[in-house]
Symmetry: D2
Subunit: 98 residues, 4 copies
């Protein structure tokens, strides 16, 4: 099943600068050949639900291995069985009415 | 890796009453032998990350099959490598200081 | 407008132990005379939308003042205009079907 | 206090097409002169915490008035007291390391 997901990984206990950890996670998503869109509060991901969960699991493990002993990971999954929706479609359907 | 997760599944396009769908999901979590705690805004889950993702995937699929064409699923994963934390511990560590 | 909210405040850059900050926030919610329910992944709150936002703002400011230079605050607001729903009702409507 | 927020408003009980409601909310955010960035899973907002909460409250009320009897509103607030951070900075600090 194709889904659009949003991922936000927050390392706790490693100080104030978190970009190193976010970068590690972005690299994993890119290597998995997922369609991704980084924004200021997370990363949107388009792909098969199985692959998305697999990639998120890899992110969590990699960020821990990079030295973060505690993580909070927020995930949102938008799924539809009535049609296949793409990230660009969702944005366009709003923007064309503005 | 043991995690504490929070799951909230919101069916869209099936009217205002959502409890039938939530019940379906709760049954799946119970059958997976996961430790769960239902609350007013979601369900907390304690278990191995793999099993938690597997159970959430089963919930999403089951709620779609029950007739919901569109879902929004919110997931929070709390993970630690420095110690194993249980749901009851998190609540107690706050309550004993109140 | 009456709402049911969920609040989770995550201090960043203050080490691994966060309960001191959560306790500060719980005290504020209690002092505001809001109906609250602490659980393992956040605190559910029942009250007027204005009061809920006011209390959350007080939490954010208090946790910063206690020494956390960076916060991530997650809020979920469940609102209905067709009926007044209470936290206990939401849990019961699921549990009676299990 | 300046914050970066993320807002996602999900109408329940009004069928599958939600863009009309999202558009209403975008218009409110634009009229409030807030810096906003629409993406596939929500809208990021940059502004004073008070103004952000005020705008979100206006969104919730407007979407109900447009006919949605039930809403789920997800909000994330990123706040820092050690520096003023902008949405573009957060994205750049990751992208320059990729």
């Amino acid at each position: 099943m194709k889904v659009i997901a949003e991922l936000s990984v927050t390392p706790i206990g490693v100080g104030l600068s978190l970009s190193k950890y976010i970068v590690e996670c972005e690299r994993i998503l890119k290597n998995k050949k997922l369609t991704i869109q980084l924004h200021a509060e997370g990363t949107n991901i388009e792909g098969e639900l199985d692959e998305v969960f697999e990639a998120i699991k890899s992110c969590i493990e990699a960020v821990h291995q990079l030295g973060a002993p505690r993580l909070m990971t927020n995930i949102k999954i938008s799924s539809r069985t009535d049609k296949i929706e793409k990230m660009a479609d969702k944005i366009q359907s709003v923007e064309k009415q503005l």
